[in-house]
């Protein structure tokens, strides 16, 4: 009957969304996000890849800050991403409270 079921974000995805949503206009780098969320690169980047595929994330290459350094990939949420972040925020808060208890 054409029922659309929304997939619930995993706690890791919710944490990434929350980190990006804290400063939605700012372009963030992968390493900063990894430090803020405590996720390993092997977990973080697949999440970022999925979010971009879903249209929740925009990414672009930034010029190197210093000569000799590589260009860095930067990320920020799209409108869809901000909506997803809002949706997943209460669930993340609940899980964090459960974990703390």
């Amino acid at each position: 009957l054409g029922v659309v079921r929304r997939r619930r974000s995993s706690p890791q995805t919710a944490a990434v969304l929350a980190a990006l949503a804290r400063q939605p206009a700012r372009w963030r780098h992968g390493y900063d996000l990894a430090k803020e969320t405590g996720l390993a690169s092997g977990t973080l980047y697949p999440i970022l890849m999925r979010l971009e595929q879903r249209g929740a994330l925009e990414a672009h290459w930034q010029r190197p800050e210093r000569p000799g350094r590589p260009a860095r990939h930067a990320y920020r949420l799209t409108g869809e991403g901000r909506r997803l972040a809002q949706e997943s925020a209460p669930a993340l808060q609940l899980r964090l409270r459960e974990a703390a208890a």
Partner: protein, 178 residues
Amino acid sequence: VRRVARSLVSWAIGFLPPERRTWSRAVLAELDEADHPVRWTLGALVVVAREDRLALAPPVLALGVFVCLAGAVVADETVIVTAWSRSALAIVALVFPTGVAGLVAAIATLRRSPRAPALAWSFFAFVAVVAMLAFTNARPVATVFSGYERSRINGSAFALLFAFVFAVAVTRRRVTHT
């Protein structure tokens, strides 16, 4: 460490089709910032594998060869010869299969066969067990463990190896049949 890690990941990225290199390059670009470059590199390899599992075969093979070479350089001759010659089983079950696994994995990688990653991991598993056996039988370490403890460690290593090879074989069969 960073330079070796960068070369390893760049090499693996080179095996990806150009249109699927963006995310792997993105992880690599952060390597200079990372406090733990080895952990970051492992993550980069996960991303490479996610784009194309085949691209992971060359670095895994290279790691295996590196461990072999490092073992040959660091461990003196007596360690390797004594450790292996103590057990005929080790020679039959490890030395010969390690060489064969390495050769088959290298050929599969060069031919870009879909089986290359599984074969490369199998080679690496053999190398890891050989390294553990050589290490636990080396003189300074051997004195720490009793003969019984060493046999337990070696037995566990063998069990892990066979479990790994079995798991790879089952996974391959499942993939082939679906």
